[in-house]
């Protein structure tokens, strides 16, 4: 009996500990700040997305505050780590809304977590700018229109796939093999590759997969080699996209045209591939290839500045995923500057006033029918040449 009572006591203690921790962390009451929430997968298996996003968003918030804030208002960025987990993303968004009382949310980083929190944003009527690829985030299948409160900055997989297919078509190639990693990123790209193939007259003669922690893809590539496609398209992120390249070059398949997804957008990948990336093509956004852009390109200045700032602050090469957070952050900052921190006004501003917004991943034009706002120009086809990017044309 006593034992059980003590057990109960401990339970109460646990609650109190939680309470204390929460109290201790309570920030001093700010004068007047604009609160922006962010959900990124900073750690866990999809940290390659969330980590650069968080760094970018924090860097921008710092810069803005150092320059005196937004019309004198301090910008408070509240970042929660979702770890790529739907439950955590759900809890964190509710906390941002009810507790932190932010006026707009950036993220989540993944299509899965974005789809998971999307109903919440609609229900609580808070503008959310997702940093994930899937077109489903801004396309309500029931109405055929975007969700009212949800926007997104990254190019959809559709655009990347179309860029690749157009290129293949221009080469007159149509027998292709696709490879994808069995994560959200890979599966969503694979889905679009399969869906759009008939439209571009592509024959997918091999459809191979591998796990995100696989150490070797020789078996999949050997099978592809046996089938003999004209080109291979690989959809993955992280170390596997490098391993694929190495295995491919070992198998003497370097002469088969090879496309990577837009997930390939980091110079580190070229470096890690140790020569095996030569001749590989990938559709990339402007921020990956700032130096390659012509002086006339509207994106050149923003991309160069971002690249240099990021390198100076974090001493590591830029990842294109950070650019999605950059785009979302500056859209929000523009909105806050123009109309303050009212949720409804921010939403309306995003939908009506983001026109010709020059971002890292393209020039955005949001509208009531388009909450992604990018055209296929958002991708440039890039080829790896002498260990660096170069425009494919």
């Amino acid at each position: 009996m006593i034992l059980k009572r003590i057990t109960i006591l401990i339970t109460i203690c646990l609650f109190s500990i939680g309470l204390l921790i929460s109290c201790a962390e309570k920030p001093p009451e700010p004068k007047k700040t604009y609160k922006v929430g962010a959900l990124f997968s900073v750690t866990g298996r999809t940290s390659f997305l969330g980590d650069p996003e968080k760094k970018t968003a924090e860097m921008i918030a710092e810069q803005i505050n150092a320059a005196g804030g937004i019309n004198g208002h301090n910008l408070e960025l509240i970042v929660y780590d979702t770890e790529g987990d739907a439950t955590k993303a759900n809890l964190a968004l509710k906390k941002l809304i009810t507790q932190d009382k932010v006026s707009v949310v950036i993220g989540p980083s993944l299509s899965g977590t974005s789809l998971a929190v999307l109903p919440l944003a609609e229900q609580h009527e808070i503008p959310l700018i997702s940093c994930a690829a899937s077109y489903k985030i801004v396309h309500n299948e029931k109405t055929g229109k975007p969700y009212k409160w949800v926007f997104k900055t990254p190019q959809t997989d559709t655009m990347a796939v179309e860029a690749i297919y157009r290129r293949l078509k221009s080469y007159g190639l149509n027998y292709i093999a696709i490879m994808s990693v069995t994560t959200g990123f890979g599966a969503s790209g694979r889905g679009e590759l399969l869906r759009l193939a008939p439209k571009y007259g592509m024959n997918i003669i091999a459809d191979e997969k591998y796990g995100p922690k696989d150490t070797d893809m020789t078996a999949q590539l050997t099978k592809i080699k046996g089938i003999g496609p004209q080109a291979i398209i690989n959809w993955s992120v992280g170390p596997t996209q490098v391993t694929v390249l190495r295995n491919r070059s070992d198998l003497g398949m370097a002469n088969i045209l090879f496309f990577q997804s837009h997930g390939f957008g980091s110079r580190k990948n070229i470096e890690l591939a140790a020569g095996a990336a030569e001749g590989v093509l990938a559709p990339l956004g402007a921020c990956n290839i700032a130096e390659l852009l012509t002086a006339y390109d509207v994106q050149r200045d923003v991309a160069m500045k971002y690249m240099q700032d990021y390198k100076t602050k974090y001493n590591e090469p830029l990842s294109s995923f950070g650019g999605h957070a950059w785009d979302a952050m500056y859209m929000v900052i523009n909105a806050l500057t123009e109309i303050g921190d009212d949720k409804v006004k921010i939403r309306d501003y995003l939908e009506n006033n983001i026109k010709g917004f020059v971002g890292q991943h393209g020039v955005f034009n949001y509208s009531a029918d388009d909450h992604n706002g990018l055209t296929d120009k958002a991708f440039a086809m890039v080829i790896v040449k002498d260990g660096d990017w170069s425009l494919a044309d």
């Binding site: 796990g211 099978k223 046996g226 992280g238 190495r246 070992d250 002469n255």
Partner: protein
Amino acid sequence: METISFTSQLFQYLITGLTVGSVYAMVAVGFNIIYNVTEIINFAQGEFVMLGGLIMVFFHVGMALPLVLAFPATVILVTLVGILLDRLAISPIRQPSVLTLIIATIAASILIKGIAMFIWGKDPFDLPAFSGRNPITVMGAVIQPQYFWVIGFLIVVVIALSIFFDRTIIGKAMSACADNADAAKLVGINVKQMILLSFALSAAIGAVAGVTMTPISLMEYDRGAMLAVKGFGAAILGGLGSFPGAILGGLIMGAIESFGAGLVSSGYKDAFALIVLLAVLFFKPSGILGDIEISKIKRF
């Protein structure tokens, strides 16, 4: 368009499978060394492999030490981690039930992973191949020179271990602990020391696996867990406690994955290996080479 004949394809699957399987086998051997002395499965075994790879990158690439120096230095450092693991996480537990010990190793693996993330960050690292990256073609199948290093080191580890357990006094003492810890205590063997040694030894083998596989597949901080699962599968498939079983189990797992990916469905390749594992267990509950009588004596 260059293609490849079906037999060459099969041969390629086999080679790839055996190489991947060799890594699993080394992890499985590491599991067995500790299992034999303590009856626990050390789920931090995969972290030894990860540390082996990343520390080797630090010595060989970061500090530009030559291979012959960097390799042993890495193994020694990871062995120290193994010793620390035993001293800090395993031996302080006073009334150890097998499950408590396993949870302790899981906790330790999370801790090691966290520290590795803190030190190396989240990006993958590369290591130059020991003898270049120019592949050799055999029967139409392509073999990276590094494959030979992986398989070669597995053989070295096997021979070294069998000499150790059969020919040396310490090795025999360890085998005695494995057979009957109480009896071993009675004849004056320091069981605590043997447990420490088993952790050191399996950490060293983990390090070897990590060093040799990194040039093929890169290495990053969170690779350990999946390797531990695969290695555990290999150890169970072969029969816990049996070294030939571990090697057989590892190679079979690698081969099934490779053939499954190549011939059937790459999306389900991991499932094939596990289905085979389940099928074996349902027919032979102690694994391929496991001894059912011995497994009855074990508490767990």
